[in-house]
């Protein structure tokens, strides 16, 4: 074991050699090796990215529009500023929903104020007002509007709050949410999540005049599931089978009604801790709603999570949880029987965002695979603490990894699978490594829940045991 750790440390030291000294000092704090028994992963996180290194990170706008707000399907989210941000994030995250797009749902549309030079010079508030008027006219069934600020908004001193208030009043109290998620704020997507969470608190919860009371003792909300490839659906079905009443989905396939009703639930169940712990904590403090983290990747963690969630309820629910686990046992067994022999002992290197750098480890282990390296795009210290419950001794940890580092780590550790994002996919495939995108599920999914695990297993098998990798090396 310790030789593993020594080896990994050596690899890190070698990789760091490329950097100018100032950068090396900064980057070495983000790279580490997990050692059993330690309380954290030994890396610093949530710090500004060093310029010029090819970070994988995005921005606050991506965290707010792309992650938290964007999936709320019956509201119109204006990408406020120049055209690009909305264009590049247009329908790219696969937040599935059911609805008539363009009429009562707007998830896969790109609404932008398409800022021109005159808007920068004279300000965009009047344009924003007009945009809201035009939205009301052309999309009369929208249930609300959010203003997703792009970089220039905060720099030119626009007052999007005033515009939002004014227009909300004019539109009979319609929910209009100004979001200060300019891309230069913070160090990554992460601040965008936080800002977006806070706007739900301030502009949805705090604007409610009446508290609804028609709840049941079994009301819960799914928090932090963006329904990528249908993840929230294959999760919801299990909770409903357990006898819980899922009042809201935050925010995949979600609606403003669901957000507004969440303060009535008995328990918030939180999947992506990173992006939605803020609102969960707020609801705990203000409404006394407990929250619990869960993990629906892979049967081991699913069963553990179902029991954990059931623990907040009466015996009926607890018994139901056991029934659900039993119901899916045959499927789980058959899935593992089919795929585990093909995947046993294979190694994986991960680099993703949110909860996945730790949450998916159990699913790999259910298939007999080992995660030998992992890291977070925009994790904080509490993420790395939570990671210690998942990783094994000697796992290499890289925070906000640079393109260079990731390439070198993979070259050194030669995993059987690299699991990361679109920007990394083709780099590693060229190098001959099987790869799966673990943000978009590589256009597959869902991966959550028991139904999702079968898909996850199939996909990992099809990546690793694909005949193409045998052909990468030319015989000549």
């Amino acid at each position: 074991m310790s030789s593993n750790i020594e080896e990994a440390k050596k690899i890190i030291a070698e990789v760091l050699e490329v950097y100018p000294e100032k950068t090396r000092k900064k980057r070495e704090k983000h790279l580490g090796v997990f050692e059993d028994g330690k309380a954290d992963c030994g890396v610093k996180s949530n710090i500004k990215t060093v310029p010029g290194v090819m970070t994988i990170r995005g921005c606050a706008y991506a965290g707010s529009k792309g992650v938290v707000w964007g999936p709320i399907k019956d509201m119109i989210h204006i990408s406020h500023g120049p055209v690009g941000c909305g264009q590049y994030s247009w329908a790219a995250r696969r937040n599935y929903y059911i609805g008539t797009t363009g009429v009562d749902s707007f998830g896969t549309m790109q609404f932008t104020s398409d800022f021109q030079e005159k808007d920068i010079v004279f300000g965009g508030d009047r344009k924003l007002e007009k945009i809201m008027d035009e939205i009301e006219e052309l999309f009369p069934l929208n249930k609300g509007i959010t203003v997703q600020s792009e970089c220039p908004i905060g720099l030119i001193g626009d007052d999007i709050e005033a515009v939002s208030k004014k227009k909300s009043k004019e539109f009979g109290g319609k929910t209009i949410v100004p979001v200060r998620c300019e891309g230069f704020r913070g160090v990554s997507q992460s601040l965008g999540h936080h800002i977006a969470n806070d706007t739900i608190r301030d502009w949805v919860f705090d604007k409610q005049t009446e508290k609804k009371t028609d709840g049941t003792p079994y009301d819960v909300a799914i928090i932090g599931d963006y329904n990528i490839g249908g993840d929230a659906w294959s999760s919801r079905i299990l909770l409903e089978e357990m006898g819980l009443r899922v009042v809201a989905q935050w925010s995949g396939d979600g609606t403003i009604e669901e957000l507004a009703n969440t303060p009535n639930v008995k328990l918030n169940i939180l999947h992506c801790y990173r992006s939605m712990n803020y609102i969960s904590r707020h609801m705990e403090e203000k409404y006394g709603i407990p929250w619990v983290e869960y993990n629906f990747f892979g049967p081991s963690k699913i069963a553990e999570s179902l029991r954990k969630i059931a623990g907040f309820f009466d015996d009926t629910i607890k018994e139901n949880a056991e029934k659900v686990i039993a119901k899916y046992e045959a499927l789980t067994r058959a899935t593992i029987e089919k795929f585990r022999p093909r995947l046993e002992g294979k190694t994986v290197m991960l680099f993703v965002g949110g909860l996945r750098p730790r949450h998916v480890i159990g699913a790999y282990e259910d298939l007999g695979m080992n995660v030998i390296g992992t890291g977070y795009e925009f994790g904080h210290n509490d993420d790395y603490q939570r990671t210690t419950h998942y990783v094994k001794d000697g796992t290499i940890i890289y925070d906000d990894v640079t393109g260079y580092e990731f390439e070198k780590f993979v070259e050194a550790l030669k995993p059987d699978l690299v699991a990361s994002g679109i920007k990394e996919k083709y780099v590693f495939q060229k190098m001959g490594y099987p790869f799966r995108q673990m943000h978009s599920w590589d256009y597959s999914g869902p991966y959550h829940g028991y139904d999702g695990f079968a898909i996850f297993a199939r996909d990992m098998d099809m990546a690793i045991n694909n005949p193409v990798w045998q052909m990468a090396k030319s015989p000549f």
Binding site: G52, V83, Q87, Y88, Y96, I237, A454, V468
Partner: protein, 512 residues
Amino acid sequence: MSQNPKHVLDHFNLFREPEYVEMFENKKKNFENPHPQEKVSEIIEWTKTQEYRDLNFRREALTVNPAKACQPLGAVFAALGFEETLPFVHGSQGCVAYYRSHLSRHFKEPTSCVSSSMTEDAAVFGGLNNMIDGLANAYAMYKPKMIAVSTTCMAEVIGDDLNAFIKNAKEKGSVPEEFDVPFAHTPAFVGSHITGYDNALKGIMEHFWAGRERSANETINVVMGFDGYSVGNIRELKRIFKEMGIDAIVLSDVSDVFDTPTDGTFRMYMGGTRLSDMKKALDSKATVSLQEYNTPKSLEYAAHLGQKTLAFNYPVGVRATDRFLSELSQLTGKAVPESLKLERGRLVDAVADSTSHIHGKKFALYGDPDQMMGLSEFLMELGAEPVHVLSTNGNKDWEEKMNALFASSPFGAGCHAWPGKDLWHMRSLLFTEPVDFLIGNTYGKYLERDTGTPLIRIGFPIFDRHHHHRYPTVGYQGAMNVLVKILDKIFDEMDKNTNAVAKTDYSYDIIR
């Protein structure tokens, strides 16, 4: 429970299973507070009307589903076409994540590009330190031969001065004094990705050409411009020039950059315009652009240095390619060779073989301005009518040129150019004045779904079909590919619309 490891159901079929369908219905009914279905149906129908179209076209402020991106995307794309060049975008880092994802989703290739990762403090104090550190890090890690700098809107709004910053960074030793760092200011709130391409290219031209003596030779510089088919098109252009016997330098040659092999090695850099060639390109007799609206400043700069310039509008089709080749021939004194005449004849042969299936068909199309001109002209050559031609980044001048083009053919009668409009405008056009086919990028699939107009994918980005960027769309060969693409869709639709058994399948012909 419907899942089955023997035959795994993923999102395509899993959610059609009864337990999920029921779950969706209950979620909607119990928790979403939906609008009544009659209301939704009423609005659906209303959005199809002329009344809605009129309101829609009265929009002054809101843009919905535009067919354009922002300047730095084009700048990064242009920069990638040079030998071992690392694009460096000064400003917020999220932008670079977006450009890289966007290009990779289209080409299914890696996109290397770095950011100076400016945050709040840089917004207050300026991004000079980000430039100094960023250049030093990028140079040390990725060992490029050139770093081409452009800007995000953040850096533009706060007014960072690239020229001064790069000088300063060089003084601080970030990169060697003689190291090539061309730059271009590329504000996202001016123009579109094609403007950024032009600015970046001009920046690189200036970097290599400014202040040097020009001694003209017979070489021709060629610029493809921003183009999702660059891999195929640049290779095709090189072939055409070779056939013509013309020495050519492609300015920004991304053909190998976006087409690297899977053989165990990741090539961050491959191909591209050699920097030594870029230097030499000052002496070229002329600079020829395949996309006029994509390269005005670059051409103006080349002309100002004494080069001849020629600009085309994405020549796809017979006559556009004829003009392209004759003007090249005039410019260089080289005759159009037999081989290309033969290709021309083969294209006309193919058109003659198939024209009866295209004749009189109505098309709507959208995309970059030059591409719209090239495709419209070709459609008219095929006897088709380009009824709605929309270009979000087209301007008044483009509109006039489009109108002249329509006027040049009987098939242009009643056709309309729409500069500055978006795909929500197009939706109204397709409902109120339906056409047979739509040509556009991947986002056109939403129009296809809503209006039932079959989509022929030609444009950028194409995310949901693979590998078409490898095949040319300009010249006679390009026209052949475009023709086949159009025909395939026409025949597929014909089959789809005639296959009802014992009802319409008499027309489900085996020979077409």
